[in-house]
């Protein structure tokens, strides 16, 4: 093979690699583009958005739901649903708020404990799903009550406290960059590392076709538990972050939290049913939502219209991400009740 052809081949391959990267990530890139566009709109109508204060409080407010949505995305990728998210976040939150002392040792240990509780709760969800063979919806509906009850046992109404230093560590700003951004980027990096092991592919295989995954030697039970445990890890981080944000514990997070997390997953572009997606788009989805709340605030939409507009934004964000949806000829791909 001559030198030129070899180079040509390599260049051609790079082109193919880039094209394939773009086509594999099209959903992800589209939701990122939606975020950038929304953010730009928001910045153009309100100067506050680009100030350090504005930006850091935006990131801080959205980070809890973002972390939870990232975890939820992993479960969804594996073909499941997790209704226990708010309860696990609340459980971690009340443990932190009741246990953490103002010493760095305590902060470290309680943080580890918090994330450990998240991982354990998630893993237990996973173990229950694999060992019982029940749909994850019903298992996590049950554990939603169990973890929720446990949170109430730890703290029966909002209270507790979190040391200032710890709150500052997570929600503060260093050199103009909110620490939360670093935390979120850290999670992305962690996921990038994980996706270079076979775990990512195994999770997607599990969500895509469970029987096929099993037949190919994918450790199905282990992967399922791992997916729920990773989700639990993210919930643990969300609980920690919530503790820092609120410097206290709230045993009852309210139904809106779950809905926000689910909406963030969807807006991020991860489709229910499994086999596709990435937790990073859960992060993006959450910030798309929080940016749109911010836009609605800035334009001083009447408060009742907020609800209507939120609904409209959900629809628009999903349509914009994949405009091809509108073009699909009706007979080409028959629709089921799940849509999509």
């Amino acid at each position: 093979m001559s030198q030129e052809t070899a180079t040509a081949v390599r260049v051609g391959e790079r082109g193919a690699a880039v094209r394939s990267f773009a086509s594999r990530k099209v959903g992800f890139l589209a939701s990122a583009a939606v975020l950038v566009a929304f953010f730009a709109i928001n910045a153009s109508i309100s100067e506050a958005v680009l100030t350090t204060y504005g930006f850091s409080s935006f990131v801080n407010a959205g980070a809890t739901v973002a972390l939870a949505a990232a975890g939820l995305s992993v479960v969804v990728m594996a073909g499941g649903l997790d209704l226990s998210v708010a309860a696990v976040v609340a459980l971690v939150n009340v443990v932190v708020a009741t246990r953490m002392q103002d010493t760095s040792a305590s902060m470290m240990w309680v943080s580890l404990l918090a994330v450990g509780i998240g991982v354990a709760a998630g893993a237990l969800n996973g173990v229950l799903v694999t060992t019982t063979g029940l749909p994850s919806v019903i298992v996590t509906l049950a554990t939603f009550f169990i973890w929720g009850g446990a949170a109430l046992l730890v703290l029966d109404s909002p209270g507790g406290s979190v040391p200032f230093d710890f709150a500052d560590l997570l929600t503060g700003v260093r050199g103009g960059v909110p620490n939360a951004v670093l935390l979120l980027l850290g999670l992305c990096v962690l996921w990038l590392l994980l996706s270079r092991t076979s775990l990512r592919v195994n999770i997607l295989a599990l969500g895509g076709d469970r029987a096929a995954a099993r037949a190919n030697g994918v450790p199905v039970a282990g992967t399922e538990v791992a997916a729920f445990a990773i989700a639990g890890f993210c919930y643990g981080l969300a609980g920690l972050f919530l503790s820092a944000l609120t410097v206290s514990g709230t045993p009852n997070l309210g139904a809106d939290f779950t809905l926000n997390a689910f909406a963030a997953v969807v807006v991020g572009g991860t489709q229910f049913g499994g086999g596709r997606g990435t937790p990073v788009s859960g992060l993006i989805g959450a910030f798309v939502l929080y940016t749109s709340y911010s836009i609605l605030f800035t334009i001083e939409a009447p408060s009742e219209l907020n609800y209507v507009l939120t609904g409209a934004i959900l629809v628009v964000a999903v349509v914009v991400q994949n405009p091809r949806r509108l073009l699909v000829s009706r007979s080409a791909e028959p629709v089921s009740g799940a849509g999509g």
Binding site: S57, S157, L245
Partner: protein, 352 residues
């Protein structure tokens, strides 16, 4: 700017008005709606119409969203936030940041623990105690009590329950069941019916609301009930000649939706330089069947408003501490019926 609070020079807005944000958690109930209407009406009534630019924001029942909302309001340059908090503690960092930025924060109905914030709220433990104490007296200090709970983990429920426990302490009254009612008629009806079916000997029921359902279910005997004070519960206690139920074994303890209006006034007073204590505790008087008074002007003592346009879960709402009347509560249109008095002149009002 630094000179905003206490400058007494009118607001920082372009037109010299104070910008005030009413930050609600939800508009899904008559209670918050009624409070909101009263605040909107007050803001439109002279002299405030010249001084105030009011915006209303609804955060939803998610603490992170309300935090974002507070931050946004601060960034938008408001002078004060009149806040219905979803959490007594979770908003503290956001509130403290707001205070640091010179924003006056007044929380109403439920308190927040941030030291820089002003709080206006009824003493909920007292609320629980007042009703339960009456029940204990009626029962002669012994017997079975069913307590209808609200939603677990929500502070109001915890405080009220503690008040109830305090009232039965040292008596022979026993709590036999605690059905969870979620403050919703349908749920109360189901869960109370089940609790009562298991404890048909129960002598009395305490609930933040729910006496209507209690009397719907307990038909065969007289049962004592202490509940809330919405229109329909008052109707139950009202004499039959005004279309009421004539039930005399009931008492009500009002939850006052006018505390929002008071919070608004406190915010204005602080902005105009008044020195006001951080906490205002509101009275929670007991209302018996004899106290029910039909009418249209609350300033004249009316506490039961009949009429088709009055929602069933509408609350009697007036206090000498505030100013607005029925039209204001129903539609948010100005309806000034009195001049407010300072807390020190009103019985049961405590400022500290």
């Amino acid at each position: 700017g630094d000179d905003k609070p206490g400058s007494g020079q009118g607001g920082g807005g372009d037109d010299g008005k104070f910008k005030i944000a009413l930050n609600l958690s939800t508009t899904n109930n008559t209670y918050q709606t009624q409070a909101r209407n009263l605040i909107e009406a007050a803001a439109k009534t002279p002299p405030y119409d010249e001084k105030v630019e009011l915006r209303v924001d609804v955060a939803g029942v998610d603490v992170t969203k309300q935090i974002q909302m507070i931050n946004n309001e601060v960034a938008a340059g408001v002078d004060a936030i009149v806040l219905y908090p979803v959490s007594p503690t979770g908003l503290n960092p956001a509130i403290e940041k707001a205070c640091k930025a010179g924003v006056v924060v007044v929380a109403w109905d439920s308190n927040v623990t941030a030291p820089c914030a002003y709080n206006v709220y009824p003493d909920l433990e007292q609320f629980g105690y007042t009703g339960a104490k009456w029940l204990v007296d009626q029962m002669g200090g012994k017997g079975e009590l069913i307590v209808i709970r609200g939603i677990e983990g929500v502070p109001a429920d915890t405080f009220e329950y503690e008040g109830v426990l305090k009232a039965i302490e040292g008596t022979d009254v026993e709590i036999v069941a605690e059905p969870e009612g979620e403050w919703a008629a349908a749920t109360i009806k189901t869960t109370f019916a089940q609790a009562y079916a298991a404890h048909p000997e129960a002598d009395a029921v305490w609930g933040a609301t729910g006496c209507i359902q209690v009397h719907e279910i307990v038909k065969d005997k007289e049962i004592f009930c202490s509940g809330g004070m919405s229109k329909d519960e008052m109707m139950l206690m009202a004499p039959e000649d005004v279309g009421g139920g004539g039930v005399t074994t009931n008492v009500a303890v009002p939850a006052p939706p006018w505390d929002g209006e008071l919070a608004f006034f406190i915010a204005m007073d602080v902005l105009e330089g008044a020195d006001i204590p951080k906490t205002t505790l509101l009275p929670t008087p007991l209302v018996t069947a004899e106290d029910v008074k039909v009418g249209t002007n609350p300033a004249e003592g009316a506490n039961l408003f009949v009429g088709d346009d009055i929602p069933p879960d509408f609350f009697p709402f007036w206090s000498p501490l505030v100013e607005q009347g029925l039209e204001a509560a129903l539609h948010g249109t100005p309806d000034k019926i009195s001049d407010r008095k300072p807390c020190s002149e009103v019985e049961g009002c405590v400022q500290k």
